[in-house]
């Protein structure tokens, strides 16, 4: 019985099974499409290119950090310190720019601060073997404290205008009339009316969005097409087997956390640039938003499973929901409830799918 070798893909399937396969493999993509279609149909001002640009800018911070959180989760760990790192790097950058008058130096300081936190996280977790949840829970508080101490609890405004460029420039400069679908509500039947038209708007792509796209591509390639990325997934799948197979588990983990810190630091600097100040209160709860986005994107919290495309979809689901709610002027208190509901619903759908396939 053991001498037959079968290789190659299973035989072709009819179209219906293909659709079922799409739902099975990329259910969250289907959820995103339904969400976007629904918002376009019923939320005024949603379906326009200019709004989509705004949406992309809104999710930039979460999107950038989600890239490295994906690596972290794929290797079977967590990082809860990213929100605090965002605040601290912003504060550091602001302080250094003000002290030295040099923008590059300030940015470097922000990045270095983030990377240092990541390095500490990684070393404590990988070398000393402390649970990642506990380690980063501790550094989350330490780092938040440090950013309050350094800033003395106040927002630090940056005087150097060159610093604003990172968050507030856009390229290419581009404005004109862009297609929009307008939604109008009436008291009588038909209650909703749609009309297609063109509206004037600024479509220059903001720098943070470019940076986010760059991160998606770079870390997507890193995860799928490098030995580092594959080793990350292997470690998340079974750390002991990976170690015995000769993978440098500790080193890989340290690199992952250092990258996570570096990227969160970068996001923090960009945010500070957008706000033209380093603020110690920013990024509270950001780590949970980032992890939510990853989970929405099908990344397993136990490690070993995760794709960049999934994360992009997860980030967009969160962004779309938030954007639609903002456009509907739903108060932020209710938005929390809705965001939590969406996360729970997504995970439940996934559960049900798995149960059915059993």
């Amino acid at each position: 019985m053991s001498d037959s070798v079968t290789l190659g893909p299973p035989s072709g399937r009819p179209v219906r099974q293909c659709l079922a396969g799409l739902w099975q493999n990329s259910g969250m993509l289907v959820v995103l499409l339904v969400l976007v279609a629904g918002a376009a149909a019923f939320v005024p001002n949603f379906a326009s290119l200019v709004n989509f640009k705004g949406l992309a800018l809104m999710v930039a911070t979460v999107g950038i950090i989600a890239c490295t959180m994906l690596l972290c989760l794929a290797s079977g760990d967590f990082d809860l310190s990213v929100g605090s790192v965002v605040a601290m790097s912003g504060v550091m950058a602001a302080v250094v720019v003000n002290a030295t008058g040099s923008v590059p130096l300030g940015i470097a300081a922000g990045l270095a601060a983030g990377a240092l936190v990541g390095l500490v996280n990684g070393t404590v977790i990988a070398v000393l073997g402390v649970n990642a949840l506990i380690t980063t829970l501790a550094t989350m508080q330490i780092v938040r404290g440090v950013s309050y101490i350094v800033s003395q609890g106040k927002a630090i405004g940056v005087r150097e205008e060159g610093f604003y460029a990172l968050g507030n420039t856009a390229w290419p400069r581009f404005d004109g009339y862009f297609p929009t679908l307008s939604v109008t509500y009436h008291a009588g039947f038909p209650w909703v009316q749609w009309s297609f038209g063109f509206a004037y708007g600024d479509m220059s792509i903001p720098t943070p969005v470019w940076i986010m796209l760059g991160c998606f591509v770079f870390f997507g390639l890193l995860l799928n097409w490098t030995t580092f990325g594959r080793n990350t997934l292997a470690i998340g799948g079974n750390a002991e087997a990976s170690r015995l197979a000769g993978i440098a588990v500790a080193r890989t983990k340290i690199v992952i956390f250092a990258l996570q810190g570096l990227v969160a630091g970068f996001a923090g600097v960009i945010l500070a640039s957008r706000m033209t100040s380093g603020q110690p209160t920013t990024g509270q709860g950001l780590e949970l938003q980032v992890i939510s986005a990853c989970v929405l994107g099908g990344v397993s919290l136990t490690g070993g499973v995760g794709t960049m495309l999934g994360v992009v979809v997860g980030v967009l689901i969160m962004g779309t929901a938030q954007n639609a709610m903002n456009l509907c002027r739903i108060p932020p208190f209710y938005q929390y409830v809705a965001s939590g509901g969406i996360l729970l619903a997504a995970v439940l759908i996934d559960r049900l799918k798995q149960r059915r396939s059993r």
Partner: protein, 509 residues
């Protein structure tokens, strides 16, 4: 007791498929009341799937499961339990930090108004255990018990649920001889009580020892049911299992041993009682036998760097190697396949391709870090063919492969590299006969190419059959090194047994 001829438990045309695998196909057989019915077959024959159908974990795609003539549809393990079906898996389902009594009544603790009745719980538990002839303190935590005792608790748990059908999945795989004998006594007693016992095992001696009837599965199909095992011999059963007679599983061709490939000198660390020293020569297959707990696995882990040695030196190919971790060992050409395949060997949720290439990704990649998909696939495909690994595709998750094929994947990682020394810890545990002989062939092929191989095994015929030389370990010490000619089963076993007489077995209550 009711009519002994009636089949209490029946499978009728049970089929179950998974993506890419047809696990069960039209399986039909019945199990009589008051009998122990063996379910045998090679790995991947469908035994585990059938047990999961029985316990309600899987729902069959077609066919039915009948209890006392009534078709059953279980929507989960709880419903199966409720209907009186308990399955005792290889990996026991106990909660280690809880007490024995709490484990016994897990899910239905005796309570009054929601408060647990502690005294009653303990008395009941004690009575249950006493009925099985076990004198275990119900207040002890399960963590503190031996595997054999834990198994008894699983059985007591099933009885506490009033299970009529009890299925055992490889119950003796981690038991000592004595514990296994105790288990058989209990199983016979359960049978005499009129319960229905389904017994899954690879160990045919056990099947002949404890079972009354047997059903053979092969490739998910029902091959044959022996209503009685009287007059049935081992060969008949094996032939039914593999579809061919296995005359000679072990082929041994002595290789002229070459230069010293591995020299271990004064190696000491956790699990060893005395510093260990031995050598392996190129082209030599050395067996390592010992009872469970003799320190074999620990020795290999120390050599390989999976555990840190306190003293001692390891020399590979004449060059001393400083081993701080598996990576150092691998770089020196010293590789190992760990004992626990699932925990230490494979990445279950990743593909066969990734598992095959785990250790040489850098080697297969472009510029040392960019994945070269084509080269990876070519290499994996070659290995799949060379070792005849049975998998629907390279993208299949490795956890869906049978144990034998998983083991071949783990082994394949080290083939073709610059391997000088290969350490194998129980390479054939839980693997069917066909895959075993293939693994032996791979071992000998490697030896012929000059690799020094150390094979740890708990199966005496196996180590005797494949080794050029044999190391016997006893209580953390290498007790002897025997040449092939002088190693007999009796001699090896007597060397492996503890010197001081074992404490006398307490009279069972």
């Amino acid at each position: 007791m009711t009519d002994p001829g009636a089949c209490y438990l029946e499978f009728r045309g049970v089929s179950k498929s998974f993506p890419g695998v047809r696990a069960l196909e039209d399986v039909t057989f019945g199990v009589r009341e008051g009998s122990v019915h063996a379910l045998v077959g090679e790995n991947g024959a469908g035994k585990s799937t059938l047990l999961k159908v029985l316990s309600g974990v899987y729902r069959p795609d077609a066919g039915a499961l009948l209890l006392a003539g009534q078709p059953q549809t279980f929507r989960g393990a709880a419903e199966a339990l409720h209907a009186g079906v308990a399955v005792i898996y290889q990996e026991l389902h106990l909660v280690p930090p809880l007490s024995v009594a709490e484990n016994l009544y897990l899910g239905h603790l005796p309570s009054r108004l929601g408060w647990v009745r502690g005294r009653r719980l303990q008395e009941d538990a004690r009575a249950r255990l006493a009925a099985l002839g076990e004198a275990i303190d119900p207040r002890a935590t399960v963590r503190s018990l031996s595997i054999g005792q834990r198994q008894m608790i699983e059985i007591a748990k099933a009885l506490a649920r009033d299970a009529k059908v009890i299925a055992f999945d490889e119950p003796t795989s981690s038991l000592s001889r004595r514990e296994a004998d105790r288990l058989f006594d209990v199983i016979r007693r359960l049978r005499d009580d009129g319960r229905v016992i389904l017994y899954v095992s690879h160990r045919l001696e056990e099947v002949f020892g404890v079972c009354d009837a047997a059903t053979v599965l092969r490739d998910g199909r029902h091959v044959r049911t022996f209503p009685t095992l009287e007059g049935v011999d081992r060969d008949t059963l094996v032939r039914a299992m593999v579809g061919r007679a296995i005359s000679d599983v072990f082929h041994h061709e002595p290789c002229p041993p070459g230069a010293v490939a591995l020299e271990v000198e004064g190696l000491m660390g956790p699990g060893l009682a005395r510093p260990a020293s031995f050598t392996l020569r190129e082209g030599e297959v050395v067996g390592c036998f010992g009872l469970v707990g003799a320190g074999r696995t620990e020795l290999v882990r120390l050599i390989y760097g999976a555990a840190r040695a306190t003293t001692g030196t390891v020399t590979v190919g004449g060059r001393p190697v400083r081993i701080r971790g598996p990576r150092d060992a691998i770089r020196a050409g010293l590789v190992a396949c760990p004992e626990d395949r699932k925990k230490e060997g494979i990445i279950p949720i990743r593909s066969v391709l990734e598992n095959l290439n785990l250790s040489r990704r850098r080697h297969l990649s472009t510029l040392g870090f960019i994945i070269n998909e084509r080269r990876e696939r070519a290499s994996a495909r070659r290995q799949v063919e060379q070792l005849s690994i049975k998998t629907p595709s390279l993208a299949q998750h490795i956890m869906n492969l049978s144990g034998g094929n998983q083991q071949k994947v783990v082994l394949a990682r080290w083939l073709g590299g610059q391997v000088k020394v290969l350490l194998l810890d129980e390479p054939t545990r839980g693997i069917d006969v066909g895959a075993k002989s293939e693994i032996y062939a791979i071992i000998h092929d490697l030896a012929r190419r000059g690799v020094a191989v150390l094979v740890i095994s708990s199966e005496l015929p196996e180590v005797l059959g494949i080794s050029d030389r044999l190391l016997v370990m006893r209580e953390g010490v290498i007790a002897a090194s025997l040449e092939r000619g002088e190693a007999t089963a009796e001699k090896v076993l007597s060397l492996a047994l503890p010197v001081a007489p074992e404490p006398k077995r307490e009279a069972s209550a």
